[in-house]
């Protein structure tokens, strides 16, 4: 695995909005979710928040109101304590993504489930956690959606070493619009790469390289998963080791499990 640039990731995170939730109105218990820990969790939010840059996100991200990615593969396999979820975010292949919808995914104790809604409906929906299209992974919160799903990147740790949720984790939301709804790109230098909380999963030394950075993702109900993106190209090693893309792009493999 090639090293990633910590400075870049720090910059990415520095610009993201921190989560503060709405005070946690509901309390649920992990035993209902299949999570491994038994700590009671508080919901981060229970009601959707109206997005402020709807016009812009529809246009900038080429969202559709009449297309649903209901044939895109979202499948799990169990690997020890983890799920490894395949998400087909190819969106018609390079250059065709604007004509295709995002794939929406919900993390559940039974695995990842595809949520079959169109993009514009998703802007009002708390039913999804993750949206994928090509190399962009959005979380349902901040600029991306009305919920409060946030993430924290742990650039100094491995996925395996991240065994519990630390105290005082600062989850951040997708934050790719300024106050006047101007798109904020991340620090990758690539045009059209919005500043999203999961941005540090990749680097771009000429192809989309996986960094193996683990994340904690806090769901709206307060449960937390740890997550690592392991594949973007079906032949990811070619990019990671040799610097050349090979295989089908947009075919994610994401390893994840509930930590709380």
């Amino acid at each position: 695995m090639k090293a990633y640039a910590p400075v870049y990731h720090i910059l990415v995170l520095a610009g993201l909005g921190a989560c503060n939730g709405d005070g946690g109105k509901d309390t649920t218990d992990d035993t209902d979710t299949g999570a491994t820990a038994t700590t009671a969790v508080e919901a981060v939010c229970t009601e959707p928040t109206e997005l402020t840059c709807v016009d812009e996100i529809i246009s900038d991200l080429s969202l559709h109101d009449d297309l649903v990615a209901d044939s895109a593969e979202v499948s799990d396999r169990v690997a020890g304590d983890d799920f490894v979820t395949t998400i087909d975010a190819t969106a018609g292949g390079f250059g065709n993504e604007t004509a295709n919808p995002w794939v929406y995914v919900k993390f559940t104790p039974e695995g990842a489930q595809r949520v079959d809604i169109d993009d514009e409906t998703a802007l009002d929906s708390m039913e999804w956690h993750l949206a994928a299209r090509r190399f962009v992974l959005r979380l349902n919160g901040g600029s991306s959606g009305p919920s409060c799903v946030g993430a924290a990147a742990f650039i100094e740790q491995s996925y395996e070493d991240l065994t519990e949720v630390p105290d005082d984790v600062n989850y951040v939301y997708d934050d790719f619009y300024s106050g006047d709804c101007t798109l904020i790109n991340d620090a990758s230098g690539l045009d059209g790469s919005p500043q999203v909380a999961l941005g540090p999963w990749w680097d771009y030394p000429g192809c989309v390289e996986t960094t193996d950075v683990p994340f904690l993702v806090q769901l709206e109900d307060g449960h937390v998963i740890k997550l690592r993106v392991e594949q973007y190209y079906t032949e990811q090693d070619s990019c990671n080791n040799d610097g050349f893309p090979s295989g089908t792009s947009g075919m994610f493999k994401i390893r994840w499990t509930f930590l709380r």
């Binding site: 016009d55 529809i58 246009s59 900038d60 991200l61 080429s62 109101d65 009449d66 250059g95 993504e97 604007t98 004509a99 798109l183 690539l190 045009d191 059209g192 790469s193 919005p194």
Partner: protein, 477 residues
Amino acid sequence: MFSVLWLTAVPAHAVRPTEGGLFSFDASDTIATYDPADPRIRVTFSSDGPNQVPDVDLDEDGVPDYVQIAAEVALEALDLYESYGFRAPLSEADVGLGPLGGSPALDLYLVDFDRQADGHYDVDTCTGDPLVCGGYLTVENDFAGYAYSTREEGLRVVVPHELFHGVQLAYSGELPVWAAEGTAVWAERLYDPVSWDFMRFANAYLEEPTRSVDNPPIGAVPSFAYGTGLWYDFLSLRHDPTVIDDLLGAWAGSPDLTQSMIDVISARGDTVEDAWTGFATWNLATGGQSGGLEGYPYADLLTPPLPEQSGQIDDDNRFYPLATTYYRLNHEGGELWFALEEPQPDLTFAVLPTSDGGPDSPVLEPLTTFDGSDAGPFSLGDQPAGKYWIWGAQPRYGDNSIKVALCAGTAAEVDGCFATTGTETGDTGAPLDGEDEPKGCGCASGGPAPSGGLLLLLGLAVSRRTGRAAPRRTSAA
């Protein structure tokens, strides 16, 4: 053709391909230069090595024909641009950097892009306020493996395109992609009136006409941004090619390029509303749908936009500024009705018949063009059965989209639209308080028997129409 335009700030000057960089000569290349009689251009190329140009030299003058053609095309394009009053690209000498390419001429480098691109224009440095920049162009060394049918064709597409970036940089070093690439693609057709590259990108625009012309999708190389060349060509045909020179001049230092563009249109005695209305109609009259009305001289080479909806029109749509949504209506004959869920005066609609009522046959002049200040429902007159096109647009500057439901079809079909509104206005057939029972029916004989709800709608329409100074009946009604 996909090119890359770097407008980022540079230190003293950009690294020339002879010095290194992403697309550059190799140390094993044998580098030569060609200076045509016209001193405005110098071509730097490899005669042997990884970046070698084709060595065909039919005139046996010692200079590869490919190199000479590149120079000829560049000089032709410079002459052409000059003839329309455009500023000439600035060389490194023009911005005080001395002969970085070995002469004061504008440098054209021929290197292998390995199918990752086919040309780009690099900036040496920028100066002044508004910022103008000097630089050089780099073009593919042999077009091997590219889609161009011949190498010469590749040169005839890429060189004028990249040179026009040089023209732009003589006005402004800060153009967004929709302005820079759109007008560079426009310049391709100025050079070659049937440029297939222009047509290809124009079709990319026509694939997504619902997007604002000044807001391409995010991404490194959005074809849409290149495809906006169609809009500039429309303006050029509507006025003359010097309108693009006006645009470049207005954009220089402008804090709001869209407003500057609208101002340029206004200065020509035109309005953006009228221009966009024409653009929306011309775009529909393309491909097999061309020939029924005035349109692009190359209209048959384009692919028409796809309808947002076909059949009966009952859609909730978001209309962005300077964008158009198309609908294809299957009308069974009789009175044709149109309605909006609520008035939207900033929207404009047009209804166009087709020449023989077929689904893909030529479209004809609009039956009517109207704004959305009256939500209706109102009649568009008694129309024969067949296929009709309806387009809707927000043909003006705007910060936001306008979201509204619209409906078109027969009386019965329109009656079924806006279910919620229908209930509120008496969908059961009972008249609203204060409304008279419809006394008569304006529907065409032979049309479907209107439902109770529609009778009310008709009644509203008729009563409103009665009080209208200039009824919006169609000219064909």
